[in-house]
Each structure stands twice: as C-alpha cells, then as structure tokens.
Amino acid sequence: MPYTPHTKDDVKRMLAQIGIKEESELFDYIPQSLRAKSFDLKEGLSEFEVYEDFKEMASKNDTSKVCFLGGGYYDHIIPSAVDALSSRSEFYTAYTPYQAEASQGTLQALYEYQSLVCELTNLEVTNASMYDGGSAMAEAALMAIRITKRDKIVVDSGVNPIYKKILKTYLAYHDIEVIFMETVSDKVDTKTLTSLIDDSVAAYIFQNPNFFGSLEDYSEIVKSLHEVKALAIMSAYPIALGVIKTPGELDADIYCGDGQSLGNYLGFGGPSFGILATKQKYVRNLPGRIVGLTNDRNDKRAYVLTLQAREQHIRRAKATSNICSNQNLMTLRATIFMSLLGKDGFAKLALQNYNNANYLKTQLAELSAVKIFNQNATFNEFVIELPITCDEFLDRMSEKGFFAGLKLDHLYENFENRVLVSVTEKRTKAQMDSFVASVKEIL
C-alpha cells in the first residue's frame, strides 16, 4: 500500500485549486514516449548476476584510445592519494554540515578548499562550491544583477557553448536581457563589445582561455567595464590559472569555473563541481554555503557555516539563491589534488599543458592539409581546420587509436570542418608524434 498523506478529498481540492480534473494532467508536459511504460519490475538478481551484467556493460567502453578530448573537461593525471583519502568513510557524509559540533572534519576540508581557491584566483572570498561550471556562471550572472541592480548581461562569443545553454535555461524566467555575441573568430570582437558596454549593463562574461583555447589580455576591457560600474565575470579552466593572469590580478569581480580538472575523473561528463569566487565587498551576494573559522567557548579553533542569513532557510523567497547544497566529495578531491601539487607544482603542471599543446600545434601547422583556426596564443587546446568533415576525421583517427578531439559542427554554424584538440600533461611526445603521423596518413 503506498503511503500518501493526502485524503481523496485533499487531492480533489488541490486539483480544483489549480484548475485541473485528473492527477494525470500534471504530467501532460512530458511526452508519452518518455514516460515509463510500466512499473512492474522484474524479479531481483543476485549479487553475482548483477556483477556479471555490469561487467558486460562496462566492457562496451573503449578505454584503450589516447585522448585528445577537451572543451571543458580534461584528461589529467590523478595521484592515487586522491582516491585513497577521498574514499575514507569519514568523508562519505550524507548532507549539509549544518550541525557544526558533529561535522568539524568536513567543515575543515571545505574551509581548506575555500582557502586554496582564494589563492588560485587571487580573490578574497569563495563558497563551498556549486554544481558545475555552467551553474556557477549562471549564479555569477545573477549576482551581478543583484549587485548592480541592472538587468542586462553581455556574454562573449568565446564562452563555452554548453555554459551558454545553461545560462539561457537558468535565466529564462528572470527579467534579464542576455546578449550573446556572435562567433566570428577566436578573438574578442572589441568593436562590437565597445558598442554594447554602457551603464545599462550589469556584467560582461568572458572566458580565458576561451572555448577555442585562445588567450587574451582582458585588462583594458575590465577597466572599461568598471568605468560604467559594470562587473567583469571571468570564467576559466582552473589549471590555466597556474600561468595566466588570475581574476584577482585582472581586477575581475567574479570568477566562475568548472572543477573537474582538479582531481576528478572524466565520468561521462561528471560528477564535477563549480567554483565561484568574488571580492570581499560582494560576499553577501554570493550564493551557496560558506564555511567560516571561529573560536568555540573554550577558545578552540572551530569551523561553522557562516553568513547563513543569505540562504533560503532563513531569508526565504529573498535568498541570494535556492542553491542549498554543494559538491562536497568533489571539492574534497580538488583540495587533496591541489595540496599534493603545491604552488610550484601547480604552475609547473600548467606550463606542461601549455608546452605539450603548443608542440602538437606547431607540428600540425606544418602539414599542408591542416590549418590552425586560432590567431591568438593558445593554452592547452586549439582548433584545427580540415579538408574533410569532423565526423570523417574523428572516425578515421579513432581507427588509428585516438580520440582525436571534440567536433565543433554541432556547436557552431559553419564549423563542419573544425575540431578542438586538447593536450594535457598526460600526453607523451611519442603519442603526439604518432598523432601527427596518423593525421598525415589520413589527409
């Protein structure tokens, strides 16, 4: 017998209130084809049978290929200590550590994470993480709207197209005008940007390196934004912050990014976490949980969730956001990952990525059949233009043992022959040389 607290009369009154007759009408929005055909589940399986089933499914994955895929999620080395420490049962806590007296370990780990993010970005405050890079960007946009009390957001063409989709979804029911700049090259279209930036704009969102891997100096743009009291929102691949100008150095107001590259696996696009950091003066507009450091009544160091009055359990409808959760375990992995690398190690890692990718780029540029799309300098990925279609190229490279890159034809118009190639510290010179040789054979 299903347990539902509502009597038949309750249900009738609720349905009448919203003007429908049957409960089933509530599901009209879901196409019939997507609904469950039946809830009559089969008989259960034994542990052994389930294991065999899963093994068979897993064997369909191809893990043998050398990966040059990027575009937001990257194939980095993950030290074993990350798995070992993050799988300790103490950290497998269920949910919000609101009860500080029972959650000091979790809270301290989050506090360390926040400290590391502040060092990485050169910004003063951050929260205990968001869901992913896209949701962090959308929350950054909402922050800018609240801070400036303006309702227009300008999004650079170099922003990850998936983040743009998330922005659209997230902001759909807010009274916000979002202007997406058109993609003409890998560079910022400064002329169009200048014509768009005025005192009606809440923020300009840019990504460095951008989705095509290109780097640009945004200092002047940030200055011109501040002249009209608009905010600069910078999205960046966190590894790149080891070598490029940080958001703090650029005087950007809000940083957002995806944390997968910091010690998290490429698991079909997740799980990951989002990073959101800002200046001290905007801390009360920062959504999500923030862990603070204080002293208990015996004068011992203690960690607590702080500034909770921004959040929905206190401020209700006027909360800074309805995000009341975070990605604890993923941020824990990032904390361990960053601690193991240290400041110098992190900078070296970034440099290795830069060097590897630029080696491959130079080698490919020498082939007559390949053109490099990027005009600006690139970090660890770049776009190649081919005489054949993306699909053709990727299929043939796959036969030679490579995931050769991310096809861009489904993300941009007129990009049928363009592929985004990414190179991390994991790729050896031999692998890159063999990649070039294979491209030569194909084209």
Partner: protein, 121 residues
Amino acid sequence: MKKYTNEHEWAELEGDIATIGLSNYAIDELGDITFVELPEIGASAAKGESIAFIESVKAASDIYAPLGGEVVEVNMDLEDTPETLNEDAEGTWILKMKVSDISEFETLMDKAAYSAYTQTL
C-alpha cells in the same frame, strides 16, 4: 516626535526630510545585529516598499519605507558598526528620505499607539 509603522520602523519628520530607524521592539526581537544593507542615495520607494535590509545572528529582514520618497542620506557608520543598533535602537538612524507626501506621516502610529500594538503581538 517619532511615529511608528506596524512593520516596526520609526520616522521623524523635519520639513520634508524623514529620519528613519527601527524600533527598540524590532531590534530586541532580531537580537545581535550583524549587517545592514543600505540603499544607494537617490533610490526611491513608495510607503511600505522595501528600502533596506537588516541581518542579525538569528534572522534577516527587510526594512520598509515608512513614507514614500527618495533616499538622501544613509548612516555609513552602520557598515562597520551595526551593533550600535543594539546599544541604542531608537537613537540610531539608518537612513533619511525626502518625503513626497508629508501627509503620510499623520497615518503613522504615535508612541502610545505603537506600544499598545506591540502588546498584541
């Protein structure tokens, strides 16, 4: 002379400038004040609309304009020392507004009426 709203703001009128704060009752209920979000100079609100925001260790609450008008001054000291409100709530102003219709002031409660009102809460 202070007059009060049932949202617990007080206002004092001098010409068409109203000095605005929160009542002793409101501050007692809120407890230790940790933050006051002040509006921009020039911000306007109709009577009863949210104009500022206050946060304490146990709650967060809007401050509503007791009278309609435009903000002409804010008490910047509250940014660093919001606890002044706990020390002397009705002696600490939060903001000043240029009132568009001073007759609205007459609709507010006097001290006795407000005191009787808080007894019912």
